[in-house]
Every structure is written in C-alpha cells, then in structure tokens.
Amino acid sequence: MKEKMKAKKSFNSNTILLLITIVLFMVLYAGGCIAYGSKGFTHFQTFLNILITNAGLICVACGMTCVMLTGGIDISVGALIAMDCMMLAVGMSKGIGAVPMVAIVLLVGVVFGFVQGFLVGYLEIQPFIVSMAGMFFCRGMTAVICTDQVSITEKINATFYKWANTKVTIPFGGYVNNKGKYMVPYVRPGVIVALIVLILIFIMLRYTKFGRSLYAVGGSAQSAAMMGLNVKRIKMGAYMLSSILCSVGGVCYCLNTMAGSVTRALGLEMDAISSAVIGGTLLTGGVGNVIGSFFGVLINGTISSIVKTNGKLASSWPNILTAALLFIFIVIQSVFGALRARKK
C-alpha cells in the first residue's frame, strides 16, 4: 500500500513541472490581455502571430529536447539556421528551384547531424565542444556563401514567395477591425509544419523504442548499455534528429524572414535551450517532454509580444524576463530534486 502511494506522488512531480509551465504561460498571456487588451492583445491573431514568428524555433526546440534528454546539448542550431537561410536565399537567387533547394538544405542537415552525432556518440567527445565547433563552422560557412544580406523576393523565386505568403485561414476566432472589416485569423504554412513536427516527436518520444531509449540513455548511460541498448547509436541518432529538425526549422524560419544574412538567428540556440528548460527538460538528461518545450517557446514568444505591444519598453526587456523565468524554473526543479532525494 505504501509503495503505491509513493508511486503516485513521484509520477506527479514530473507532470507538475509541465503543469507549472502551462499555468505560467496562461498567467502571462492573461496578464498581457488585461494590460494591453485595448491594443489588440486579446485577438486570437496575436496568439497566432506568436506561432508564426516562432515556427522555426518550435522545430529547433523539439530537436534540442531530444538531445537534452540524452544529457547532451547542441549549440550549433542557431548557426545552422543562418546557414540554411543563406543557402536558400543564394541558391534560389542563382535560379535553383524552391523544392530542390529545400531538399538540399534538409540533406545538409542530415550530413551535419551525422558528423556531430558520430563525434559525440562514437568518439565520445564532449557535446558542448562538438556543437561549438559546429556552430563556428556554420557561421563561417554562411559568410563564405555570401557576406551580404540576400532577400528572397517574388522575382527571385515565385514558388517560395507564394509559400511564404500563403494564409492558412482558421474558421473561428475572427474579429471586426476599427474600419468595420471582418478579419479572418490565419497562420502561415511554417506553423503547420512546426505543429506536425511537434506531434511526430511527441509520439516518437512516447511510443517508439528509439524515443524511450533517449530517456534511458539520459537516465543512466551505463545502465542503458547493460540492458543491451546501443548507447553510441542512440546518441548519434539524437544529434542527427536535432540537425534535421533544425533544418526543417531553418526552412520555416526562412519562410518567415525571407532573407539570409550572416547575423541571422544569433543566439537562437540559447532560446531553444531556455525554452526546453522552462518546459521542464533537465540539462542532466532523462527528464523532459516536447509539449513542455512547446510551451517554453510560447512563453518566450509571449514575453516578446508583450514588450512589442507595449512599444515603450526597451527591446532588452525580453532577455531580462527570460532570465528571471529561467532562474525561477531552475530553483523549482532543484527543489523538486531535493524533495525526491529526501523521500528516499
């Protein structure tokens, strides 16, 4: 009987972290609605805009969560997105079609992830160092491809332009603007891609052997090996997945910004990591969920959105708020960790 009680409690402490994240998002958003309701914050479209802006980040955060579950980290993602954007922009301005270019970008993601994964998994080099090298490589290659900002216009590639400007309308939640016109809420194709990625990764982590292996490796790599898992291959898989999802995210990101430049997506890897941490993923591995990371991204997005809507706050405020949130979450996590340790 006692064992059962304990089981229930402990099961909850992981879900509690997720719940806190979701509640926090709702509180933040509600706060935004109350404070800036007059500036249109209450419109459904505001929420959809957060998704549109962060579609790429959602994909990246999913990959980052998988890597962090194994106890690793991948800080190359921001630079890889910059390289992806630059490749798309330059490639299409040289006359290559949109579909082949996207395929090339995804293929680069596979190869890049394979190399990083091999170094981390099979050669057992510190993931921080490997992905830092990857980061410098991608940033450098971006400049090698082109040092100027290259925009993707309708003239350069009509297909890609059409993708970017497609509105996927949503049949509810519209509003009448001050000119008396009914505004139909919409998202961009990138959001659809990001949500599909999110659902796929959620299913993978929950219901496939590979997904569960990521948790096992993060829980205890030595035990995982003793139980017959191929730890090296699993680690490599995680880094490949991260780079592939990052490339998918890169395409989404490019659809939103329609330009490539050397300074594109600076610090995006940190946004992805902070989203995952706020979403309850432990840096030590073994605990976490993409749903949490998704809400982590939304929280970051909401903060930016609030600051933007206010209009008077300096643009550095989102950073400070994110820092405060991260701090709170790390404290909560360590409190839970300490409570669990004491129970034993």
């Binding site: 292996s213 829980g219 073994g286």
Partner: protein
C-alpha cells in the same frame, strides 16, 4: 558435464599485466541451488564473475553451459544475457527515470513501437508472481533500493535466465529488505534457477546458501556443502590460515601499560554515522596502538571515519582527555590533534598532479589556513626532513606524486600527517598494495611513534600485521562491534572465532 549442473567453469585462468588474477579455478553450479562465492578482497571473486559475464575475456579454461554441446565463448554482458546468464550488481544498473515496466523490457525484442498496455500487463503479472511490491507504471526511482534490485532480478527472470549472479546485493539493504530478497531467491531456486551469491556477510551465507566455493589469491580453495563447513573453518579458509597453525603466532610486541588514573586520550561513546554502522564505544590511551579487525565490509573503516568526522555523525559523543569535543568535519578532528590516513589513497589521499612537497605540506597548510602560505624554503625544509626520515624514494621533492610507487605514495601521505604532529593517528589499511619491505618499515614506524607517546589506530586486512603492532583489537562483524581482545586473547584463532561468531562450539 555433471548431471544436474547448468554451468561448469573449468581451469579458468585470467592474467592482468603482472598479476595472475585467476589460476585454474573450477566452479560448478547446479539448477535450483544457491551457491555462495566467498573470498577476501583480491581473492578473484569479481574477476571470476566478470569472466563469466563476458566483461573480461578469459586467458585459459573452458565454460560449459547446459544446452550447449561445445564450450561457450562469452564476449559481452549482452551475449551472456542471451545465453541465460544475468547479473544483478550492487549498484543498480537500471534507469531510475523510467517506469518499472520499461526497465524490465527496454532493449529487448524487435520492432519500433512500444506497446505500453502489453508491457505493463506482462510486467504486473511477473511482479505479482514473484511477489515484488511494485507496480508496472511506477517510476523506478520511487521504489526502495531493495525493490529496485528485485525489479532487476525480475528482468533477469523474464529473460529466461538460468544462471543468476547476485553481486553483493544486500550491502545497502536493511534487515527486512534482506528478508524479502531472500524469499525471492528461494522462490527462484524452486523454479530451478541457479544462483551465484557473492557477499561478505557470513550470517547471510548460512541463511540461504546450499554450497560455498572459497577462493583465495586467485586460486580455488575448495567447494563445500554448507553443512560441512562451520563458520570458523570458512573464515580460516578465506584468510588462508589453518586453525592448528594459528595459536603459535602470537605478537612479539611489548605489553602496553596504560598510565593509571588518566582518562583515555580519545574516547567515543555511542558513536554512530550515516554510513550504516551500529552505535559503538571506543577509547584509546596515550601511546597505545590498537586496531579494528573484521572481514571486508564489516565496518572497520566506517568506525574510524566516524571518529574523524569524515562521514556525517548521527549520534554519540567524542571526548578528548575526558572533555567532550565536537567533531562535525575532518577539520575539527585535525584541530583536535587527530590525523587520518584513508583506506583508498588514490581517491581520498593523494593529489596526483601536485608534487611530493605540496602533498606533504597539504594537511599542515589546511590547519594553518590557506591565506597564510608557507614560504618555499619552509616547505622545502619540511619536505626534505620527512623524505629523509621516512626514506621516501623520489627523484626530488618536486616530482609529481603520481609517478611514485604505491608504497612511496603511502609514505608521503604518512609524512603529511606526521608533519601536523597529531596526538592520535588513524591508519586505515596503510600497507595495502605495497611491497613487503615498505610494509615492515611502516609497522616499525608505528611502534616507534607509539613509544614516543602517539596514540595510533591501525587497521589492516592482514591479521598478522595487526597482531605484530596492536596491543588491543576491536572486532567487528556486520557493521557492529562484537568484541574486544587484549593480551593473551590476541591470537589468530581467537580473532577468527570472534569474527565468525555464532558457533562457538566449533573452536
């Protein structure tokens, strides 16, 4: 193969650089038998287990398994598992962040999908049939260590294991948990599983085992039915001393006489730490050499660690010259004139990258405070003095300590503590892994220091050594003090019978 045997290891050899870890060891396990594998540290128990589970490759001999015509070759723990040999280690080798059911099924079977419903049902059925108090959906870290161990066993059972190796499974369990584990072991025995049980708890061996195989120094001493081998004989076989020889090795040391009417230099009353030892009393007089003896894991080191404040003290008092003092951390002990030479010098003792000189002055520097460093000349003088005094063989005082031999490293650490001029010095296994000459040097030094008025506690796995140096010995068994021997009682035979406990009549 013998009838009913499920595993036969024949003439197993294993060589490590410079050491014959196993020499022609035979081992036979029958179905439905619990077989204890006994031996002191370095006897080759774990090497034999590692050969059997494919962690090490053997250098000679054959392993026969029931159901295989030819001798089998086991290359990895995974291969061993496939052949039906599963191991449950002292440290849990499961993933604490996964559920109980996942821990039983991960890494097995084909396919991509995890069928939660199926594995939860199967796991619950097995847990129920083995009477393990856990639920399939429970997170493993929420189970007690004992239940986690049982889950590991359940995993092995479900993988259809024929040979189950339990490597020190009881060292972190309390008595009730041990009882539960034993019940499970007996259940498995009924099902025809052969169990190899490695432990250092004698009581537990006599409680559950059917047979005992004793190893010593990498060789087989023998295989015995449990009923044919009384405890005292088991201990003597493990230590390698025949009972008859024992009585005439009495110490050559002078009898220690405490000065009358003076309180002991240090005294501990009801001392207890978080390392799991039962509360114990202890005292030491000025100029006395005493020792803690007992088998490996009986709590010798834990006692002195409690006195030194190296483990967290849970209760009891320590008195110095009759006045109570508070020792919460090692630095408190050092300020009260206690020095402690730890058991594992590689982990707790040397700072490998630093020079001999820096290692020598370390403890004194800590006492003085890190913000008042010694001048180089001062440090060099201290170092040279002790390098000479203890005859430490090093190229210079600037040589990194890790390049010295084990014996000389030990001397450096000894020098470190002597430099602080302690009133009471605790030496935990100071002679382990060092050559005979240095051993004798250290023993002589201990007696000399004591004659100069230092109180010393000397702990060693080698009873001869302790008999030669100690005038009083505290005997430990299963983490409790079970006796104290002085004067004429200080003989191998008496020590062994006290360690073995229980069957006094067999003496």
């Amino acid at each position: 193969m013998k009838e009913n045997a499920i595993l036969e290891m024949k003439a197993i050899d294993k060589v490590f650089p410079g050491v014959l870890a196993l020499q022609g060891v035979d081992f036979t396990l029958c179905a439905g038998e619990i077989h204890a594998l006994m031996g002191e540290n370095g006897a080759g128990k774990s090497t034999l287990i590692k050969v059997l589970t494919g962690v090490y490759s053997k250098d000679g001999g054959q392993i026969y398994l029931k159901g295989y015509d030819k001798p089998v070759i086991i290359r990895s723990p995974q291969e061993a598992q496939k052949m039906g040999i599963s191991t449950v280690y002292q440290e849990i080798t499961l993933c604490p962040n996964l559920s109980v059911a996942e821990n039983m099924y991960i890494g097995r079977g084909e396919g991509v999908r995890v069928n939660w419903k199926k594995i939860n049902e199967k796991a619950d059925a097995i847990l129920k049939s083995l009477d393990i108090p856990a639920k399939a959906t429970q997170q493993l870290s929420s189970c007690s260590i004992a239940v986690q161990q049982m889950v590991a066993i359940a995993r092995a059972v479900d993988m259809d294991c024929k040979v189950l190796i339990l490597d020190e499974p009881t060292s972190s369990l309390d008595e009730q948990e041990v009882a539960k584990l034993f019940k499970l072991m007996r259940d498995l025995k009924e099902r025809g599983v052969g169990i190899i049980f490695v432990t250092h708890f004698l009581d537990q061996v006599y409680e559950v085992c059917d047979k005992i195989t004793v190893l010593r120094d990498g060789r087989l001493v023998g295989e015995y039915e449990i009923k044919d081998l009384p405890r005292v004989q088991l201990v003597s076989k493990m230590l390698g001393k025949e009972l008859d020889d024992l009585s005439d090795i009495s110490g050559e040391h002078k009898k220690f006489q405490a000065e009358p009417n003076t309180p002991p230099v240090f005294e501990a009353v009801g001392l207890q730490s978080d390392a799991g030892i039962k509360p114990f009393d202890f005292y030491i007089q000025k100029g006395e050499v005493n020792g803690f003896t007992g088998l490996l894991g009986s709590g010798r080191s834990e006692c002195v660690r409690a006195i030194f404040g190296a483990d967290r003290v849970l209760g009891g008092t320590v008195k110095k010259d009759g006045n109570a003092i508070k020792i919460a951390k090692p630095i408190d002990a050092m300020r009260n004139g206690i020095g402690y030479l730890p058991e594992d010098r590689k982990v707790d003792g040397i700072v490998g990258e630093l020079s001999v000189r820096e290692n020598i002055i370390l403890a004194l520097q800590v006492l003085k405070g890190f913000f008042k460093p010694f001048s180089r000349a001062e440090a060099a003088r201290f170092a040279d003095e002790y390098i000479k005094l203890l005859d430490i063989k090093t190229a210079s005082a600037d040589t990194p300590i890790k390049s010295l031999s084990g014996g000389n490293q030990q001397k450096v650490i000894l020098a470190r503590w002597l430099l602080t001029h302690p009133e009471y010095l605790i030496l935990d296994e100071p002679t382990r892994g060092i050559d005979v000459g240095t051993k004798v040097d250290i023993q002589k030094l201990v007696l000399k220091l004591a004659s100069e008025g230092m109180s010393i506690t000397f702990i060693s796995s080698e009873t001869d050594e302790m008999l030669r140096t100690c005038s009083r010995m505290v005997v430990m068994r299963d983490r409790a003090v079970v006796g104290e021997l002085t004067d004429d009682d200080l003989t191998q035979g008496k020590i062994m019978s006290t360690i073995a406990g229980g069957e006094k009549k067999d003496e």
